[in-house]
Symmetry: D2
Subunit: 163 residues, 4 copies
């Protein structure tokens, strides 16, 4: 039976310290729950922090990289998938995740949330500007939740996986 | 010298009559300006309307289709590019457009605006919910404009192409 | 009604003078027949020669580029499609062509012939090493022809388009 | 440090019993060596057999699927990457593999060998028609080996990984 894969998406170089702390805690909690962590795999921002959190908890990490050579890869990625697709790989990030957790918002993250909503992948929003929440809610036709804490995000994931 | 390609993106089946009228007028104006129209190529919504407008003005239309067989193609697409990539093709839509005009907003359109901002392609927003405008402005690091009319959009495109 | 798109694929920098002459003549003949020429769009080898031939005959040329910025583009491409996908764009080259003409053989061309055979797109082989012809024939389940001259290739395309 | 990922590619529904036995033994040997097995992930042919072999040895399996929903997935895939890209995902298969082992030859496999040669990924050919071997050799500019047994393939992989 396939592993459960939970995606964590968020800003790269422009991630704030708070977003990175949340991403680390998310990665740690996802790995502690026995799930595989999937990110965009790069060695910056939310991707890097989430992968490091998951590795600190002894988890397994998958990184879907834009490059074709992996030079942009986080050292905390166990399984680097080298797509060579640039940002078109964002579609793979969300399709391959049973739940997508967005932690913060950059243009790349926004494209991933939008693609997830289009593909009806369940989405959890964290550390999101208030105006953004209303926008994503207006575009959602599938499951979409807002979580104020990592614990609340985990509870939501467990609930969706159980149903 | 390569043709100038202007992309028009917007909702498919959920497009409103007003969005489709605007898209038709945009397509007509783009073709009348001697530019090539690029859309997602499907036979619904803003894609269909923009292509029909461009053909009414005797223009050339390119459709970047998600399917691998073109059965989803608008009859007003002259050059169907069959990608077989599903929504990952949205990245191609924006990369191939010298200016991206978003006319209305669905989840697919949101992914295209986000990818365009990430790739620093110039974006014009039309028929956009007020909350959405503020969000895209907060994510933009490159050229982004709001146009209330097709004439204003055309003027903005001409200004960007001249610079 | 969509234009008829004929793809010409072949080696880039390693193309021989004979292959480039054939590619030029193919591009010229395709454009003279009123069809659109599609290539991988780069400014080298068979892609470049075919596009120049088509332009010499007043035709329309589409280039499906691996880059996301078009700096690799042939000056004879009218409609550059910037995919940003690297060699994954080879799948688009064959899906978007109603007939694929392979002129010579490099590794990229080989991937395109293979993908065309998989997708059952009609393929014409030109300037192909004898061993290669037998291999492609053994893998084909759809239309596959060998042409010794551009005239023979054109006749084969017309025959397939008529059926 | 990232895991070592070895790709096994080969025919799907048209795989012969011998090819499937070899693929199973390859998967078993790869997993026994502590490497991750990567395949195209589908529930047929060489992909299925290699994954089952790897799981029998307690290994970890990654499947890069053409679909966007995973309904085509082998039950022996631990980590299904849902690309939604169709055969364009073949490029990802080879880019993500440190060594590509081709076991048998269908059109999809041929595209993967060709893309691997283009990207200079090391390739091992097994169960290959004689004419095909000569062709791939003529197209290779990077590492390419022929292996008559799984043991010989393993030795070649170890040698390349050590260098």
């Amino acid at each position: 039976m396939a592993y459960i894969i939970i995606g964590v998406m968020g800003p790269g170089i422009s991630a704030t310290p708070t977003q990175m702390e949340t991403a680390y805690a998310l990665g740690y909690a996802i790995a502690s729950s026995g799930w595989v962590l999937l990110t965009g795999g790069r060695q910056v921002g939310v991707m890097e922090a989430a992968c490091q959190g998951a590795k600190a908890a002894g988890g397994l990490t998958v990184g879907i990289l834009p490059s074709n050579d992996g030079t942009d890869r986080s050292a905390a990625v166990d399984i680097p998938i080298l797509t060579g697709l640039g940002d078109a790989r964002n579609a793979i990030n969300v399709l391959s995740s049973q739940v997508v957790v967005a932690c913060g918002l950059g243009p790349g993250t926004a494209s991933e949330i939008a693609l997830a909503l289009k593909a009806q992948r369940p989405v959890i929003l964290m550390a999101m500007p208030p105006g953004a929440i209303a926008l994503w809610q207006s575009l959602a036709t599938g499951p979409l939740a807002i979580a104020g804490t990592v614990a609340a995000a985990l509870e939501q994931i467990q609930q969706w996986l159980a149903s």
